[in-house]
Amino acid sequence: MSYLRLLAAFFRVSIRGELAYRVNFFVQLFQSLLGLGIALGGLAVIFSFTATLGGWSPDEVLALVGVYFLVGGMIGLVIQPGMEELIESVRDGTLDFTLTKPEDAQLLISIRRVEIWKLIDIVLGFVVLGTALVRLGGDVGGGEAAVFVLMLVAGGLIIYSFWLILATLSFWFVRVENILVIFQSMYEAGRWPVSLYPGWLRYGLTFIVPVAFATTIPAEALTSRLSWETLLGAVALATVLLLLSRGFWRLGLRRYSGASA
């Protein structure tokens, strides 16, 4: 429970910090709407030429876009800023200050930076998702909704662990932040059902960079395409990666020697 209190505290601090830059709210709102407009515009153009895309109807792809924004917003809200700061603080040695605090350091670095305006993306994601669900009609029952939430949580944990592993590499290598650029372009690929891609790319986006778990698989849960194997696989992978990233983080910490030491 104290973790949630901490998270709330970090939220409050970053809201206070950001209120000094109120214009940023409108800038981010504009930016998010622009991004959404481009995504929907692209879909509109594509579906003006075809009725289904790799077996997905327009409304199902719309649901996927909603999930894409939702998860992208979560990444931008807390995962990415925290990991970026971790990389920077390993390089310049300010991680010292985090390590001396009486809370778990991994937890602190994971939640201490909050890009508050990314909440807009999350809200937009919900709106798009809701619209898609209404248009899909009564196909989504309580069971599907529960599986969807489960898959969303699993996907979130997988992405988080993946980022933590990458960011932890900064204990060995100096210029890790570039990897974030790769992730960004890989994540773009998640805006489309991964089933579209040829085998080698599909496997890459599922197992090397787990984008599929964050977007396609939750969307599959909503559109009743999810098999039991995938469901169990996602939960198992989330657990394994979470433990693995924790272990790797501790291994990295052991190597850390601070800035002035």
């Binding site: 940023n24 800038v27 622009l34 692209g42 075809t50 579209l196």
Partner: protein
């Protein structure tokens, strides 16, 4: 003029050595530049297949040609100055550049070109691999190949000058990421990186043609695909040239005003 040429030669030598130090970042940029067109190549191929082989006036293999050529053109014309400029101002490293007797844009051009001398061979290999996988059909008329070279050069200049101008927004605000992102989204959509611009609804297409975006990427691609008449090619070159001139003027105006408000943060 001779002085400037010598400067470039010297700058090439130094940055070439420097770029080899940044191998990892170069590789990462390349991955991004391959993935994005690849995704859209696949999406449009899927659509073309399900629609009986073609969409609009593009067959599946022409989509492959379009996005493979686009990948190369985008790579040749991209710059990272919009990401870097804010850092230079925030950390005050621009102050050193200001002490030099030439405009800092020259060393940026030299950096940019020398990085591409290193990366382009790899991108060509990737293009060949993608061509083996996706079987593009590409048969431009000879004149189009000839015009492609100046079109590509102008595309680079339009993009570089306008991005350098936009990057200077950092003189007035320390938070430029919103401006950058807005620009990149517009670029993505209106330069033809998501779809060939001929597939866009007519009004949007006209907008894309008049704005500088098509001249940055889409126009040279369409040219090499042999999709333009000589008159259309000439028109495209004209629009590019107009934007180069506009870019030069804007760059100067903004630079003068910007340097005046610049005071290194922390100085």
């Amino acid at each position: 003029m001779k002085g400037l040429a010598e400067l470039y030669v010297q700058q090439f030598k130094t940055t070439m050595a420097m770029m080899f130090q940044y191998r990892a970042s170069l590789l990462i940029w390349m991955i991004g530049h391959v993935l994005e067109p690849l995704v859209y190549l696949i999406v449009w191929s899927v659509v073309a297949t399900s629609e009986g082989g073609s969409v609009g006036d593009y067959t599946k293999r022409e989509f492959a040609a379009y996005f493979i050529v686009l990948m190369l053109v985008n790579h040749v014309t991209y710059s990272w100055v919009m990401y870097e400029f804010e850092y230079r101002i925030r950390h005050g490293s621009l102050s050193f550049a200001l002490l030099k007797p030439v405009h800092p844009i020259h060393s940026d051009i030299a950096d940019n070109v020398s990085s591409k001398v290193i990366t382009l061979p790899f991108m060509l290999v990737v293009a060949v691999v993608l061509a083996l996988i996706f079987h593009p059909s590409l048969s431009p008329p000879p004149w189009a190949i000839g015009v492609f070279v100046p079109a590509l050069l102008l595309a680079f200049l339009v993009r570089f000058l306008l991005e350098w101008t936009l990057a200077q927004a950092a003189f007035w605000t320390t938070r430029v990421s919103a401006i950058n992102q807005t620009y990149f989204v517009l670029l993505l959509f209106l330069s033809g990186q998501i779809m060939p611009l001929t597939l866009l609804p007519h009004p949007v297409r006209i907008l894309a043609e008049v704005l500088p975006f098509r001249g940055m990427v889409g126009f040279p691609v369409e040219l090499l695909l042999g999709r333009l008449t000589p008159a259309e090619a000439l028109m495209g070159l004209g629009i590019q040239a107009a934007w180069v001139i506009t870019g030069l003027v804007l760059l100067r105006v903004v630079w003068r005003a910007g340097v005046r408000v610049y005071s290194a943060v922390g100085a």
